[in-house]
């Protein structure tokens, strides 16, 4: 064991196109997470102030511990859930451009939120308030994924699953637009959900997301070898004794759960799920077990810093955090695209076309 490890590290020069090793990345992501959390508790609408333990000032105490800290932790958790779902989606569809919202969860969540807002206005049912907008978003995401699965007639064919997800997304998106045409007064409040927002996070969101994140990471950990083997094609995966049906079901369930919970708490945050696995892959070559873990950490750090920027850039007002992730994520992908086309365009376009045809 030791021998093998040593000889591995001796010849790391082969790995020259990658910037750093997995452990360095882990350390960096954890450090960034902690820095982000610390900054998050200091950064308010009034500017930078580090007042963690001012015993005589109850209000600032409350701001730090009841508003800023849960908001920052919540942003990290929502980002981590998205990063993890991104890795899961890309593993499931075996396509580097897969996005966690591909199964239709985003449009399902927005439709349900829109309907819920209408119902708030029309009837005042206590049951509805209990469910709340978060509950509605989660429910919507789950129902949409269910629709997608029904439409795809199971999960045997990833291409059919992908198409079904797109169809469900378009139809539910159209229905949401229909709702907002009849109730235009919903638009401003819908907007904060559609753009993604972290400023509604509180401790209960944290308590809700943290166990889900742990559960999803655990299940992904179990599935990770199967995901890797599926990269060799279905026939090889079966020949290695992988139970494809069971593995797909678990993968889709975990993906739906992680995406649904994150959408319910933070709205439709774009690009974090797509970009974090890419970012990890561009830094290290790792198996899926590490990829999904790093993607979660990366997603968390991304959303945490996007949240900081959203508070800082036009303070005392806030930019919706989803706008920032969309802009930064888009810029990053454009950069990635241009870098690939310059350095190894040939091999990579082959890669993408072969991956696409494998769908």
């Amino acid at each position: 064991m030791k021998n093998i490890d040593n000889s591995n590290s001796n010849s790391n020069s082969y790995n020259n196109n990658k910037l750093t090793s997995a452990s360095t990345l882990l350390l960096f992501l954890l450090l960034m997470g902690c820095t982000g959390l610390t900054l998050g508790t200091c950064l308010g609408s009034t500017g930078f102030e580090a007042s963690w333990f001012s015993h005589n000032d109850l209000i600032s105490n409350q701001i730090v511990w009841e508003i800023r800290l849960p908001r920052s932790i919540g942003a990290w958790l929502a980002g981590a859930l998205l990063g993890l779902s991104g890795a899961l989606a890309q593993g499931l569809f075996r396509n580097p451009l897969a996005d966690p919202y591909l199964l239709g969860s985003a449009s399902g969540a927005s439709l349900c939120v829109a309907i819920m807002m209408v119902m708030f206005d029309e009837f005042s049912n206590p049951w509805l308030y209990k469910l709340g907008l978060n509950g509605a978003a989660f429910l919507g995401a789950m129902i949409a994924v269910l629709f997608t699965l029904l439409l795809a007639r199971g999960m045997q064919h990833t291409l059919r699953l992908l198409l079904a997800g797109v169809i469900v997304g378009v139809v539910l998106g159209a229905l949401t637009s229909l709702v907002t045409i009849f109730y235009p007064e919903l638009l401003p409040s819908m907007q904060s959900f559609m753009l993604g927002t972290t400023n509604l996070m509180n401790w209960s969101s944290v308590y809700f997301m943290a166990p889900v994140l742990l559960l999803c990471i655990f299940v992904s950990w179990i599935l990770s070898r199967a995901v890797d083997s599926l990269g060799l094609g279905e026939a090889t995966a079966i020949s290695l004794g992988v139970n494809l049906g069971l593995y797909r079901a678990l993968l889709i369930l975990t993906l739906a759960l992680a995406t649904g919970v994150s959408v319910a708490q933070a709205g439709l945050i774009s690009f974090v799920g797509l970009a974090s696995p890419h970012l990890v892959r561009s830094i290290v070559n790792v198996t899926f077990r590490k990829l999904m873990f790093f993607s979660a950490l990366m997603g968390g750090v991304m959303l945490l810093f996007a949240d900081l920027a959203s508070r800082l850039l036009i303070s005392p007002r806030e930019i919706p955090v989803g706008l920032l992730t969309a802009v930064f994520g888009g810029l990053y992908l454009i950069w990635l695209l241009s870098r690939h086309s310059v350095s190894n365009g040939n091999s990579n376009s082959n890669l993408n076309s072969s991956k696409a045809s494998n769908l």
Partner: protein, 255 residues
């Protein structure tokens, strides 16, 4: 029964209503390299996949060396390894990690690779002269290197039976020769190799040849048997001729 690695009976594979493979009775000798040859569309790959249990088929495939009690999929996966044609692979994985996937049938869900797993990976990579590639990403390899690593992945399973679908197409001659050498070394160790090959000359290097046409076995015989050669020439419409070159059989086109 001790010299048989695989017994197949009444194998029938249909695709879209058409019968693609129809094999009544087939015995694959243990410790031998058997090669399936035949024209395009003869059902070679389909037969191999059916024998490997990767596609739906009627009839039964029996692995005498696998104890009857061990019906679990991972036991079968340990017993029979598969290397597909033009196999895709995740480009971001390192060669070492990819080869380690061959140990999947031996690993528990949550356990990390054991010392045995590491040894098997090292041996497999060394046997294909790929050990020096182990830290490279799959996406950075050339076609030949890639195929060598994929073969290592299949070797890592340490299975009794290795099934290869067109393993040496798209390889340069030197890689092809290395491939044949690896296969020969395997059969010398008593492992059974069953392959589909497009190049008849390479197929003639196998111990036994299965001549397939229209999904049916035309001939199953020793590769130096003249009747096998005749059957081969026949399924290719006598457009090839098999020559003897100092004990090596080579097939050349007849124009």
């Amino acid at each position: 029964m001790n010299d048989v690695a695989l017994i197949a009976s009444n194998i029938l594979v249909s695709m879209n209503g058409d019968e693609v493979v129809n094999v009544d009775n087939l015995k694959i000798s243990k410790g031998k390299w058997t090669c399936i040859v035949g024209p395009n569309g003869a059902g070679k790959s389909t037969l191999l996949k059916a024998l490997a249990g990767l596609i739906k088929h009627s009839g039964c495939v029996d692995l005498p060396m696998l104890s009857c009690a061990a019906n679990e999929s991972f036991k079968r996966a340990q017993h029979l390894a598969w290397l597909g044609q033009n196999e895709e692979c995740p480009d971001e994985l390192s060669v070492y990690d990819l080869t380690m996937l061959g140990r999947l049938p031996y690993q528990g869900i949550l356990s990390s690779p054991s010392l045995d797993d590491h040894t098997a990976v090292k041996e497999a990579l060394e046997s294909t002269q790929s050990w020096n590639l182990r830290n490279r990403a799959m996406g950075d390899l050339s076609g030949g290197e890639r195929q060598r690593v994929l073969l290592s992945r299949a070797l890592t399973v340490n299975a009794e039976i290795l099934m290869l679908d067109e393993p040496i197409s798209n390889l340069d001659p030197q890689n092809q020769a290395d491939f044949i050498a690896v296969i020969r070394a395997l059969t010398k160790k008593g492992k059974t190799v069953l392959s589909v090959l497009h190049e008849i000359t390479f197929g003639l290097m196998a111990d036994e040849i299965l001549v397939l046409n229209n999904g049916r076995i035309i001939r199953h015989g020793h590769s130096s048997d003249s009747k096998t050669h005749l059957a081969l020439e026949q399924v290719f419409d006598h457009r090839i001729k098999i020559h003897d070159l100092n004990g090596l059989w080579i097939s050349l086109p007849k124009i």
